[in-house]
């Protein structure tokens, strides 16, 4: 198995607010992230595809093709958007790094034509990230 990772960046705004909590609890739990006007991040996304290199092309998945999928599924949907209001998949969830990473996983997994999605790691800042992978893939190429 060979692992191919493609990185991309996008910028988006969000805010954390749960209708299940009172206004005071929202402020206590989410702190600055509860600002009703929102705030933004430069996100960095790393997408890892696992597969066997094709015997003819030597590729796990053509990078041009992967780039197109990432552009259609992620960049066009999330770049320069307000995640709470403009990304349908996030409308009923708080756009924490954990939830955004999971939404990205669910968007990408069915679109990978060759090999399979192995890992999604989403950095909200250089010091904070969330990652998704199937339990069976734990510990591989981390």
């Amino acid at each position: 198995m060979v692992y191919l990772t493609r990185k991309l960046e996008f910028s988006a705004s969000h805010l954390y607010h749960s209708p299940a909590l009172s206004a005071e609890e929202n402020r206590r739990v989410f702190g600055k992230c509860n600002n009703p006007h929102g705030h933004g991040h430069n996100y960095t996304l790393e997408v890892t595809i696992a597969g066997e290199p094709d015997p003819v092309t030597g590729m796990v998945l053509d990078l041009k093709e992967l780039k197109g999928i990432l552009d259609r599924e992620i960049t066009q949907r999330m770049d320069h958007r307000f995640l709470n209001y403009e990304v349908a998949e996030l409308k009923n969830q708080i756009p924490t790094c954990e939830n955004v990473a999971r939404v990205i996983w669910n968007l990408l997994e069915p679109k990978i034509p060759q090999g399979h999605l192995h890992r999604v790691r989403l950095y909200e800042s250089a010091d904070l990230f969330a990652e998704c992978y199937r339990d069976g893939a734990r510990g591989i190429a981390r």
Partner: protein, 139 residues
């Protein structure tokens, strides 16, 4: 795929500390040969980067595996405060008898962080410099 989707939360911290690689189990000459420049009796320092990864269920109400403020407070108290701007072999009890290599540092940090009550510690990764990094997952 039928396996469950696993989500983890990663956070990076920074601290600066000095150390000296030296063991009483070796002669002066052997220490010098094995540890080279790192055996300098005056010690030397690094800007360490610590990366921790925790897993657990994503809370439905908060969307979080763990609240970052709680995690930061825990890591600061257990690791950053006792390690930052310290001499590891002189000021951290675990390194009075163990060589403060970054391998041993990973293990010590894992022991200090594995009791985080909110989520499960998966791995500790320490970058001693941007070119050297070490990771420990508890076994």
């Amino acid at each position: 795929m039928s396996e469950t989707l696993h989500i983890s939360l990663g956070r990076r911290y920074h601290f600066a500390a000095s150390h000296r690689l030296h063991t009483t189990k070796l002669s002066e000459e052997e220490n010098n040969r094995v540890f080279g420049k790192c055996n300098n009796p005056y010690g030397h320092g690094h800007n360490y980067t610590l990366e921790v990864r925790f897993s657990g269920p994503v809370d439905h109400a908060t969307g979080m595996i763990a609240n970052i403020a709680d995690l930061d407070a825990f890591v600061n108290e257990r690791v950053i405060e006792p390690f930052d701007h310290r001499s590891l072999q002189d000021e951290v009890p675990a390194f009075r008898h163990a060589v403060p290599t970054t391998e041993n540092l990973c293990v010590e940090i894992f022991q200090r962080l594995k009791t985080f009550p909110v989520a499960t510690l998966e791995a500790v990764r320490v970058e001693e410099t941007s070119n050297n990094s070490f990771e420990y997952g508890g076994n």
